[in-house]
Amino acid sequence: MRIGVVTFPGTLDDRDAKRAVRLAGAEPVSLWHADTSLQNVDAVVLPGGFSFGDYLRCGAIAAQAPIMKTIIDAANGGLPVLGICNGFQVLVEAHLLPGGLTRNEHQHFICRDQKLIVENVDTAWTNQFSIGQEITIPLKNGEGGYIADEETLKRLEGDGLIAFRYSDVNPNGSVNNIAGLRNERGNVVGLMPHPEHAVEPGFGPDTPLAMRSGVDGLQFFKSVINQVVNA
């Protein structure tokens, strides 16, 4: 089981994403933005950061990178793709997920352990969760306010395409508390919070049991391993 992690200029969390892949039990494969080969990986992670300095719009320039042409084709063919934070922004700019992400309503960059509600488990990246489960995943962004037009929102709600919602507080003004989305097929998932930062005891978010013991993020990567192994 090989999971590719793409590095764009300005990507920050590629190493953490690769570490998460390894801890979940798969082999991480480095993918470079200027290449076009996916090196026969079974899934792809677009990690967080500030690709191309967030110039033009967050994720807009990365969405035009050579590797993205290959990833868009592969995703349309069913390859599991997870976009985290800036990676979510890239997925939206690449039209693999609908809507857009705007500057946080309160104008501040936020960094917090964020409670989420799992809304959909019929995806490559969420099948190890249960519906309605509350998980804690670190969130850190400046432009995480999700928006979409009325018609798109109706479709997202009606077709069960919302993968995660913010619980407790809405940290950035996202409409309908949307924290993450899935596509119709369920192979593409994008979310603002960072599952790769909640994969190892001692380094994750705080839980009622112990400080930094949260490992809810591991289930994203175990989900895709489960899906590929059982495919």
Partner: protein, 74 residues
Amino acid sequence: MPKADLLDPAGKAVANALQRKGNKEIANVRIGKRIELHYETAPSEADLEAAKQIAADFLSNGIIEDVVSVTVEN
């Protein structure tokens, strides 16, 4: 420009600053972008049409922004 019905946090911050400065007559501020495309030679009609396409497809995101105008300038 950011779409009219969307919150523009940067514009709101500037509007608040103007209020504090005493420019009470200014009710709202919205902040957009100007992007210049420079050509080797004077752009043709076809270049202008192509630029409009680039503005719609890549330079702007129709979900959050509107392209206000694409014009040829010297």
